[in-house]
Amino acid sequence: MANSKSAYSFAGKKQKPDTHIIVVWVDNEAGVLARVVGLFSGRGYNIESLAVAEVDQKQNISRITIVTTGTPQVVDQIKLQLKKLVPVHKVADFKREDKNVIFKEMALFKFVANNGKLNKAFEACKKFNPVILDKTNKSNVIQITALRREIDTMSKNLKKFGLVSVSRTGAVAMTRGSEIFK
């Protein structure tokens, strides 16, 4: 009965949440990231990961890629609210399962171990386009690109090969084929 003592109604039925990747093209100006991120936190939306950088120096356009979870109603609201922001040009939305879209994250792994273990670590990364960025006789730094879950698994499994530090980006996305998002 505690709930009934409220000036507000109770929460209604909940729909099932999905993971979506929202891509936002914005004017690269002061405070624009705060506007986008503030909209998410202010309205109680999730951000799982975030990647942002300028993609068009001439027109000053930045591309923000946000991974979020929400019910269909919430995801629709996210898109519509984003489109209302003055510096936002366009908003794209992809489901994580979407086969026509490529998602990638990049991770940097630092290993401190003997040569044998370092070699095994590199072998284990083979599937994810590993690049050795730095090497000494007792350490190396490997860059891989993969999906979020793959990086999650890798950073767990590589502990035994002397993984000491992980740095990773948020997901970025691009559609397959010749089409671009208008």
Binding site: S4, K5, A7, L80
Partner: protein
């Protein structure tokens, strides 16, 4: 040689070009260069308020009663933070405001300088957009863009933060060019197909209702005219939200009164039982819908709104028409006349059962109250105020609480832009400064703030503004010594534990009026009420009217929280019949 102007001059040139005649403000260190320039621009009159929140609400009152954007000018730091409540209020109720704030000089930003605050950071969530001007060459463009953003699409507040050094620096003035293509944020791209679908729903409906809101008023007076035309052409019943009052005449038979938490029995039941709901410029607010899962379960819902993010936000609708109400109604009327001339006559039979049902609900007379000969009932006070002012073109503002709901229920509005109230944010202290703004915009008209004694004390200092500018506003206080709505909730929901809702040591409002240099009138009995109101109306100066009303009166009808529309709580008369005992009450 091109002419160069200082940043401060550019601010005023922009205001001139935007046809701004009044600004509400309060000077301070970081806006002194702008204030220094004021004397050189005679077409712009500055109204000195007593608190920056007052400047914001006055600008809101100005904007709502005229349809033009309200402008306020405040200093950095506390000036800006004091304006935040008013900006948020305007954001929630879609009122176009342009707030100009001073800022510490550019080189001091980020150093915690005197009266520095992160104004754009603080106001980001409560404005449509804001700008920190970093280069005087951008100032004119930003100022004009600010007006454009504030007034296009769904209107709202914007803020321009101008550092003091920018106000001194010189630049050329860029003239205002009205862009043909707007910034892509204004949506008016509905199709004829949408309209045809709407007409098809209208012709099929057996139990239709119009549910209209503040969007109609924001779309301009023409929109209200078109709405009336459409409602008459269909013969459908119409109900309105708090913000929409006035867009349809309240004394018309087709009007069911306000809906929602304190709406009429007939309006809420009609919303619950209808088979077609046409939402025109309202937003399915939680005070309107009650329990969402049981909101109007059997109806097809149409939503006409200029803001695409309002569609399907709270309630899923069957037909969404995104566009300006005026354009949508114009197209709808045109199509209806073409395809079904004389529709209201031909359709009369189809909705006659519906109207019969509505008449049954109406016969409950849900706004009735038990009168008294000893004490003034607050509802009676509003009724008398209405009867004695209805022949004048009266503008009503309110504070927030019981008196606000009673005003909405018992004062009948027949024209748009005559009713200024804080709906979304529910800001106590809104009404007095709003009345100042309304009176500035309409110097010859009767402006009344229907107030509660608790609310009005929050911004009472603006009486001084009213006196300074000879604004004959009338502050009509329904004084029950309680924060009435808080007391009501405590009575109904918290076992009559009236925790901190009684105001001991209230000021003597009549003496207070005299201290401010205006007129104080007190009414204690129903018998003297009319004479005192007439005395107030005949006073051509600001008046504080202290109307001592019944302290226990509650505001009914009421939808208890978490309940759908068809489970309303009616007034004391009805409660006696239904014998709601202790147990029933805890369910409220």
């Amino acid at each position: 040689m091109p002419k160069f102007y200082s940043g401060a001059e550019i601010v005023f040139k922009c205001l001139e070009d935007q046809n701004v005649s009044h600004i509400f403000g309060y000077p301070g260190g970081a806006v002194l260069p702008i204030y220094d320039e004021l004397k050189n621009f005679n077409s712009i009159k500055h109204i000195l308020v007593r608190h920056e929140q007052g400047a914001g609400h006055a600008a809101e009152g100005y904007a709502r009663s005229t349809g033009k954007p309200g402008v306020l000018l405040v200093t950095s730091g506390p000036g800006a933070t004091n304006a935040v409540t008013a900006l948020t209020d305007a954001y929630m109720d879609s009122v176009p405001l342009v707030c100009i704030t001073g800022q510490v000089p550019t080189h001091l930003i980020g150093t915690d300088a005197f009266q520095e605050c992160d104004t754009t950071g603080i106001t980001r969530p409560c404005t449509k957009h804001n700008w920190l001007v970093k280069d005087v060459n951008d100032l004119a463009e930003i100022m004009h863009k600010a007006f454009e953003v504030a007034t296009t699409g769904r209107p709202g507040p914007v803020l321009v933060d101008i550092p003091k050094d920018i106000q001194f620096q010189k630049a050329q003035y860029k003239n205002y060019r009205k862009l043909k293509k707007l910034n892509g944020k204004s949506h008016n791209n509905f199709s004829q197909k949408n309209i045809d679908e709407l007409i098809s729903l209208i012709t099929k409906a057996k139990k239709p209702i119009f549910y209209t809101g503040g969007g109609v008023i924001n779309s301009g007076t023409k929109a209200s005219e078109l709405l009336r035309e459409l409602v008459y052409a269909t013969g459908f019943p119409i109900t309105s939200t708090l913000q929409g009052l006035g867009c349809f005449p309240a004394d018309d038979n087709q009007f069911l009164g306000m809906l929602g938490m304190h709406g009429t029995y007939e309006a809420n039941n009609a919303m619950y039982s209808c088979d077609l709901m046409i939402n025109v410029g309202a937003r399915f607010d939680d005070r309107i819908t009650g329990k969402i899962d049981e909101f109007s379960p059997k109806s097809k819902k149409v939503h006409i709104d200029i803001d695409p993010s309002s569609i399907n936000k709270n309630v899923k609708v069957d037909l969404a028409i995104v566009g300006d109400i005026k354009s949508v109604l114009t197209s709808t009327l045109k199509t209806l006349k073409k395809s079904k001339n004389n529709f209201s006559k031909s359709n009369k039979h189809q909705i006659s059962n519906w109207w019969e049902q509505i008449q049954k609900w109406r016969s409950k007379r849900s706004l009735d109250y038990i009168g008294s000969e000893e004490t003034i009932k607050p509802q009676y006070a509003i009724e008398r105020l209405y009867e004695l002012t209805k022949d004048k073109d009266t503008y009503i503002t309110t504070e927030v609480g019981q008196h606000q709901m009673w005003a909405a229920q018992h004062y009948k509005f027949n024209k748009p832009n005559r009713w200024m109230t804080s709906g979304g944010l529910g800001t106590m202290g809104y009404g007095l400064p709003a009345a100042v703004g309304v009176q500035i915009a309409h110097p010859k008209k009767l402006v009344i703030d229907i107030a509660g004694e608790a609310s009005v004390l929050m911004t009472m200092q603006e009486m001084s503004t009213a006196v300074q500018y000879n604004l004959p506003i009338k502050i009509f206080i329904l004084n029950n010594e309680y924060m009435g709505m808080v007391r009501q909730w405590q009575e109904l929901l918290h076992d009559k534990n009236y925790s901190e809702s009684y105001t001991a040591a209230l000021p003597d409002f009549v003496k207070m009026a005299e201290a401010y240099g205006c007129v104080g009138i007190r009414a204690k009995t129903p018998e003297e009420l009319d004479d005192k109101i007439i005395e107030m109306l005949n006073t051509d100066r600001p008046v504080i009217f202290d109307c001592l009303v019944d302290k226990q009166e509650n505001c009914f009808p009421m939808i208890p929280s978490g309940k759908p529309h068809n489970q309303m709580l009616l007034g004391p008369k009805d409660q006696k019949e239904k014998k709601i005992t202790g147990k029933g009450r805890t369910l409220v």
